[in-house]
């Protein structure tokens, strides 16, 4: 057997080494260099970029990014859990309802973000409708704030939450629920005491699948946040473009990777088998 297996694994080894691990290695090397006089990088090796990271300023940005990502994850969970529960209980229509969740996900990420720009701006549909109804005189400032960013992120990543939740709810033993009901539990008691605890792996998987891309997001804060606040993603992008400080940008990238890996280790270590 092992011969065919080796042949089968070889191309993915090659791709992963050439196009993922080596590039990451280069970033590691860059992170230990200094910024060139006019951008790019220069020798000698130094750990200065990492030293610069230890700074209240970047900590604030990190905390902000965590806050935005956590709020978006919570939003996805609040919206996604009942939805997943509904789908798992809808019998023969399950597949249809599930497709309806995934369908928007197939459209471009940028278009989904743009749809909210279209709705939220001052002369957008929400404001112009409210104005026409006489409910407001001045347009509400809906765009260009943290709320808009979180909304955009929830919208973009909701399917990532619903799918794993649905997968665990689907596997839930129906007899347990019936037993709870027989023993006199009210529906919400069943939900809180039985369904949610049993769904913990799904909640963890969904949360991590939403939280990680939100943490590294940079397009949504850019387009819906109006550039008024930075998240880690913007900081990294800024180092590679405007600031032309590749070593520092690399160091921040690796710090972000490290955070992601710690999160993965803490939250989905036990469930890892379910994915790969």
């Amino acid at each position: 057997m092992s011969r065919l297996r080796k042949i089968f694994l070889a191309p993915s080894w090659a791709i992963m080494i050439a196009l993922f691990l080596t590039p990451l290695g280069i970033i590691v090397v860059y992170s230990a260099l200094t910024r060139g006089a006019y951008g790019g990088f220069a020798f000698p090796f130094t750990l200065e970029s990492y030293a610069r990271l230890i700074d209240p300023l970047y900590l604030t940005i990190l905390v902000r990014s965590f806050w935005i990502a956590a709020a978006s994850t919570a939003g996805c969970l609040l919206l996604g859990f009942p939805l997943a529960l509904f789908i798992s209980r809808s019998g023969s229509r399950k597949n249809l309802y599930l497709s309806l969740v995934i369908l928007p996900f197939w459209t471009s990420f940028l278009i989904r973000t743009y749809a909210w720009m279209f709705l939220l701006r001052d002369t957008g549909l929400i404001n112009s409708t409210l104005a026409k109804l006489g409910l407001i005189r001045e347009p509400l400032p809906l765009l260009y704030n943290d709320g808009a960013v979180i909304l955009g992120l929830v919208y973009s990543y909701l399917p990532f939450m619903v799918l794993p939740l649905y997968a665990t709810l689907e596997r839930l033993d129906k007899n347990l629920l019936e037993a709870a009901a027989d023993l006199g539990a009210r529906p919400w008691q069943t939900l809180v005491r039985i369904v949610i605890p049993l769904c913990a792996p799904g909640i963890r998987a969904g949360s991590i699948l939403v939280f990680i891309p939100c943490l590294g997001a940079y397009l949504t804060p850019d387009l819906l946040g109006g550039g008024k606040s930075v998240m880690i993603g913007n900081l990294i992008q800024n180092q590679f473009t405007t600031a032309r400080d590749w070593p520092f940008g690399s160091a921040i990238s690796l710090a972000l990777m490290a955070i992601v890996m710690v999160l993965m280790y803490v939250f989905v270590r036990r469930d890892k088998e379910s994915l790969l």
Partner: protein
Amino acid sequence: MKRRVFLGTAAGLASCVQDRRPRLNVFNWSAYIDPQTVPNFEHEFGCRVRYGIYESNEEMLARVMSGNSGWDIVFPTDYLVKPMLANALLAEIQHAELANLGNLEPAFQKPAWDSQLQWSIPYMVTAAGIAYNRKLVPPPAAWSDLWSARLSNRITMLDDPFDVMGACLKKLGLSVNSTNPAQLRAAQHEAVMQKPLLRAYLNAEVRDQLVSGDVLAAQMWNTTAQQAMDASPEISFVFPREGYAVYPDCMVILRESRHQELAHRFLDFMLRPQVAAANALAARTTSTNAAARMLLPEGFRNNPTLYPPPEVFVRGEWADTLSPAAQRLRDRIWTEIKSA
């Protein structure tokens, strides 16, 4: 089915390869050329031109940084010429190939950033000022007017560290190119004070919001402002009293270019008075070409937004390349402003 897709792809690729004429790849700012210029050049020199557009220096620089982007000619702003040169991205310009070089304004024949025009040829000039809605009475005339509470949530600044710092420095009566840490910190303080009033930091996309009336005043480049003014009579533009930053955009040939000769032809073509005039007129921008200016219609040549009169022009200050230390401090300050 699969085979048909494959054949289709192959046929598509083949048709791309078939055209044997040499091809020049030109990467320029959006809305910065007469649509007829490229076809005319292709026709006259029997070549093809791949013309791409970008919205910011950063976007362009990120693409050409690798030194193998495939582009031949790009249009960086003056302060990027030195960094690009330091990163070995630029090819030396052969003046013998540019018969029309003498057409440039005298001020652009020996510019500070490249006194011999060894690496760059000035193309157009932009300047940052204030675009505003005429509903605003009294109209803003100075940067300091942008710190007024009446503009709360109806004002934007450019999403560009140099521009925002420039406005703050000018408000304090300082140079836009300041490298003095105390001055930069003072400017940062101004920016942070202004931030609660701001709707957002936006570049080109603010134009539509200004036209629609969502935004009443915006820090804006005069060329973008001109587009807004063309779209709506409600919009006006002013060069602030305290002074303002001027950004000459230059044509450069990348070192990686495999068509150096053709690239020089293109540069020389762009320097022709008729071509330069047509570009300025169609794109509604400010030409650096003296001979071209003579060809522009009277009304356009005296447009105060694009061609400010001498007493306004002297208030302008050319953006400079910053020292690495100053650049780093400014990057940090910008991050601090953004996370304030």
